[in-house]
């Protein structure tokens, strides 16, 4: 077990290193960088002072050095102008666009993103699992068709459109503004109970909007998985034992049908961050999605690089969690692939 964890840790680190290199060089692929673009612009406007400052920043962050050196400095294995100071040392870099350290730009956004997405994940599972069980155990019944139909609508509706509609009607009917994650008056305030309550009430609409498509997809997949398992012989055995129907269902086929979802946790986390960008924009949620979009557009390399690395770390950790959970759930995996 320990050996397994160690092996996994080593592969995780290697994976992250490769991802970091890919991320950095892809961001650097377009010609120029944020500062040189800005300098060109400033020169055109003839603002010599700003140009001097920008040139100072270029020196400061080593943007005049070759890309591979910049990369090594960024991850912190090569001394930059300020000595070793990169991701490994906990220095996340400087955002040129916001003219602030990256940590200040993404600080609140990061964990608000986590809160929103956690709420979405919980929402998806809470809603879709009961519906899927209902739908699968009563295949081709009226209820199953209704659930299936609603599911298709949920899948087919673009979530940003739904967000716009909800935005409009929430305002018109209830007089509440659902944009943002808390009332504007709490902006920049320290976290109080008031602010948290405001956050929770603002969370409902984004959760439903972002979660709807996922819920629909999950119902479909869970229903299909469960239908497969319901036909299996061991379920007949359980019933032949005289178990009550609900208990037989939950203990055997349901537990089997969970496996693919546990295996999916690793993909779920990053997908939720990058998948909700449009909705975040529409609902003006202070999450990292819109920040990432802007940073990529303006080649704000340290900011974009950091966010992408953050997503990568989440993915890798999610994979580890799902592997460990799978081993916990399924003894066949513990035994190392033996059947």
């Amino acid at each position: 077990m320990i050996l397994f964890l160690l092996r996994r840790l080593v592969t995780m680190i290697v994976t992250l290193l490769i991802i970091s290199a890919l991320v950095f060089f892809i961001i650097k692929l377009p010609p120029g960088d944020f500062l040189s673009n800005q300098i060109a612009e400033l020169r055109a406007q003839g603002e010599a002072d700003s140009v001097a400052k920008a040139e100072f920043l270029i020196k400061q962050y080593g943007l005049d050095r070759p890309a591979w050196e910049q990369y090594l400095v960024w991850i912190g294995v090569m001394p930059g102008p300020n000595g070793f100071s990169g991701l490994l040392q906990g220095d996340w870099g400087w955002s040129f666009e916001y003219d602030k350290p990256v940590v200040d730009v993404v600080g609140d956004a990061l964990w608000l993103t986590l809160v929103v997405n956690l709420a979405v994940v919980i929402f998806i599972h809470l809603v879709s699992i009961p519906i899927a069980i209902y739908s699968a155990t009563r295949q081709y019944s009226v209820g199953d068709y209704v659930a299936t139909f609603i599911g298709y609508i949920g899948l087919a509706t673009p979530s940003f459109l739904l967000a716009l509609i909800m935005l409009y009607y929430a305002n018109r009917w209830f007089g509440v503004s659902i944009g943002g994650l808390y009332d504007a008056r709490f902006s920049g305030e320290p976290w109080t109970w008031e602010k948290i309550r405001s956050l929770l009430s603002h969370l409902i609409v984004p959760t439903v909007v972002i979660g709807l498509a996922g819920t629909a997809a999950m119902i479909r997949r869970m229903r299909a998985n469960l239908l497969d398992e319901l036909g299996k012989q061991y379920y007949v055995t359980a019933k032949a034992k005289g178990l009550a129907p609900t208990r037989a269902l939950l203990k055997y086929p349901f537990r089997m049908s969970l496996n693919p979802f546990v295996a999916d946790i690793g993909n779920l986390l990053p997908h939720l961050i990058s998948g909700s960008v449009l909705v975040s924009l529409v609902l003006s949620l202070p999450t990292v999605g819109p920040i990432l979009l802007a940073a990529l557009k303006s080649q704000d390399q340290f900011l974009a690089g950091f966010i992408l690395m953050f997503v990568a770390v989440l993915t890798v950790i999610g994979m580890l969690i799902s592997d460990l959970l799978l081993a916990l759930l399924d003894p066949r995996i513990r035994a190392g692939g033996a059947r």
């Binding site: 007949v236 005289g242 055997y252």
Partner: protein, 638 residues
């Protein structure tokens, strides 16, 4: 309404004379299908007396499993009991019979009976246990559902039952997962699960069909013993008349949902009256068959392909067409919690085989003995660790492992494979025409007109009409699909067919059909067969020479007549003794099979004993009849 709970350790229920435990009258079960209702069980009536074994016999589709499901109320959703009664007279109840047919399938009364008073075991021990829960969990659950016992007590009882059904380490069995067990032990776990509540009736739905013959004999023995101890009744559902002849007290023969014949075992086997039953008996391969006696399938396949004399025998080599020399193969397995520990399994320990042209070599052994590995190496699907395979198409033997390019393509044309499972070995998305002509397309043979003609000819050979060409595999029965599999294998006019358990997934009636077809094709086309099977009676029917394999060794090899007249090796003897013969004058010797020693080379008696790592030597004891002796005794013999 009678609600009974199992009383663990209750005294064996005494049999009340003149009463029946279960009495089925005029039972009808309907299935809703797209084309209207289909009656799977039609007016079925029979009785199960207390303490007796009733065998329900029939082909697949005869409604015998549906009957069992109806008794348990676990019918599929599209099926329902549409009439008749199932009266259950529980000896532990208040003496009033209850009609199960009227019960609500999910009601408390039915649930108390199901698993409590009537328990069931199934055909596939591989899939009837949940892979995610320990055996202990699944077995104690059965008891705790039906009796007021603590988890601790349930575990104690489970250990007792595990010991009773023959688990080597009952304590450990509690924490064991099904995938860690062999097929035989899984079926024992199923029996433990059924018996822990001390049911009055055990329904066994093909309990041994998926098991090896020696394991089958042990499981049947176990059921008989426990029945004698507890006085329960058994409803045994099977298509194997050999099993029936050995364990049943009474026999009910079903065909298309109706009872064809009922009677005591004596009556049924001595004076089978109904033509269907007589036909069924003639379709089973037996050891005592006369030379050149032909099985009579219930539905004979007609083929006209050879009447016109289209068959042409290729030039045959003088020596063996296929020869395996000292094949060895080791598998490496990972084991344990993510650990890097590995186990090596010696699948083949120096296998030598000669397959003579136009003849059939039968390769017999139980699951895991390495017989499939041999056929895969011959197909070049696996690389042996040592040894070689020689193929001779008349131009001299060549090493198969070193064939390349055109030679390899020619070899592939010459050696074709017939698979065990006719359901998964045909692509469901291809029509029969596409399936049959795919080998021709791969090898670039013929124009599309010629391929069409060839496909028609192939169908004719296996007795199917050319209307089949445009249909998909799912619209054929198991036997028809297996014939399609054979037709596909013949498409390239091979010299050798490797048949890997080609009839073990088929019903007895269909089995005879396919075996006869293989015999006819061999006679007409001069084919050579390597026929791999665990069923000695089947091999006896089709093979000329038989090689018996155990733990990666060939232990005995002899012409068919010699092997069956004079089986020398203890393993061969055990295999032969374990095959249930559909002849009540030749019962199984259960006591002899009880010891589980015959598949362990270290436990064989001298001079056959092989110490670990010892290979022994094949020694000829009469012309063509060779047996493996230990190194020492073979030296002494020499």
């Amino acid at each position: 309404m009678v609600v009974t709970t199992a009383k663990p350790n209750a005294v064996p229920t005494e049999t009340r004379m003149g009463e029946t435990l279960l009495s089925i009258r005029d039972l009808r079960v309907d299935f809703r299908t797209e084309t209207g209702d289909f009656r799977a069980v039609d007016g079925l009536s029979f009785d199960i007396p207390p303490g007796k074994t009733v065998a329900l016999v029939g082909e697949s589709g005869s409604g015998k499993s549906v009957t069992a499901q109806a008794i348990m109320h676990i019918l599929p959703k599209v099926a329902r009991i549409s009439g008749g009664s199932i009266c259950f007279n529980d000896p532990a109840g208040d003496g009033r019979p209850v009609d199960i047919a009227d019960y609500d399938p999910e009601g408390a009364a039915m649930r108390a009976l199901r698993g409590g008073r009537i328990a069931m075991i199934f055909q596939e021990p591989m899939t009837s246990l949940s892979p995610l829960h320990t055996i202990g969990d699944q077995v104690t659950e059965a008891l705790m559902t039906h009796a007021e016992v603590s988890a601790e007590e349930a575990r104690r009882k489970a250990v007792d039952v595990f010991a009773r059904v023959g688990f080597p380490d009952p304590q450990r069995a509690l924490r064991t997962y099904p995938f860690e067990l062999s097929g035989g032990l899984r079926q024992r776990a199923m029996i433990a699960m059924a018996l822990i509540t001390r049911p009055a009736l055990l329904i066994a739905d093909e309990p041994t069909t998926a098991l090896d013959v020696t394991t089958q004999a042990q499981i049947l023995d176990l059921i008989r013993e426990i029945q004698a101890e507890t006085g329960m009744s058994v409803l045994l559902i099977t298509h194997d008349l050999g099993v029936v002849a050995n364990v049943a007290d009474e026999v009910v023969v079903m065909y298309r949902g109706k009872v064809m014949e009922t009677g005591s075992r004596e009556d049924i086997f001595r004076h089978a009256e109904h033509p269907y039953l007589q036909a069924l008996m003639r379709a089973v391969p037996r050891f005592a068959m006369a030379e050149n006696e032909r099985l009579t399938p219930i539905r004979e396949v007609r083929t006209t392909a050879f009447d016109k004399g289209v068959a042409s025998s290729p030039t045959q080599p003088a020596g063996p067409v296929l020869r395996a020399e000292e094949l060895t193969k080791t598998y490496t397995l990972r084991s344990g919690w993510f650990s890097g520990k590995t186990r090596t399994i010696r699948a083949l320990n120096g296998i030598n085989l000669d397959v003579m042209p136009g003849k059939t070599l039968g390769l017999v052994g139980e699951s895991g003995c390495g017989k499939t590995t041999v056929s895969k190496i011959i197909m070049r699907a696996l690389q042996p660790d040592g040894g070689r395979v020689l193929f001779d198409d008349g131009s001299g033997p060549r090493d198969v492992q070193h064939l390349e390019g055109d030679d390899l393509t020619a070899y592939r044309r010459n050696v074709q494979f017939v698979f065990q499972d006719p359901f998964s070995s045909l692509n469901p998305r291809m029509t029969v025409y596409e399936i049959l002509t795919e080998p021709l397309r791969i090898h670039n043979i013929g124009t599309s007109d010629e391929r069409y003609a060839r496909a028609k000819e192939l169908l004719d050979m296996v007795g199917l009409s050319k209307q089949a060409l445009r249909r998909y595999p799912h619209s054929f029965s198991g036997g028809q699909r297996q014939r399609l599999g054979i037709a596909r294998a013949l498409a390239l006019q091979p010299r050798v067919l490797l048949c890997d358990e080609p009839v073990s997934a088929l019903d007895v009636s269909v089995q005879a059909q396919v075996l006869n077809l293989l015999k006819d094709l061999q006679a007409a086309l001069g084919l050579t067969y390597l026929f791999v099977s665990h069923n000695l009676a089947v091999v006896d029917y089709i093979a000329d020479t038989i090689a018996v394999m155990c733990r990666g060794y060939i232990v005995e090899e002899a012409p068919k007549a010699s092997l069956f007249r004079n089986p020398v090796h203890p393993y061969t003897q055990a295999l032969l003794a374990a095959v249930p013969d559909p002849d009540i004058d030749r019962p199984l010797d259960f006591a002899k099979l009880r010891a589980d020693r015959f598949s362990d080379p270290a436990q064989w008696p001298e001079p056959y004993r092989l110490a670990p790592g010892e290979h022994g030597l094949m020694t000829e004891i009469e012309p063509g009849h060779k047996v493996r002796l230990s190194d020492q005794s073979s030296r002494e013999a020499a």
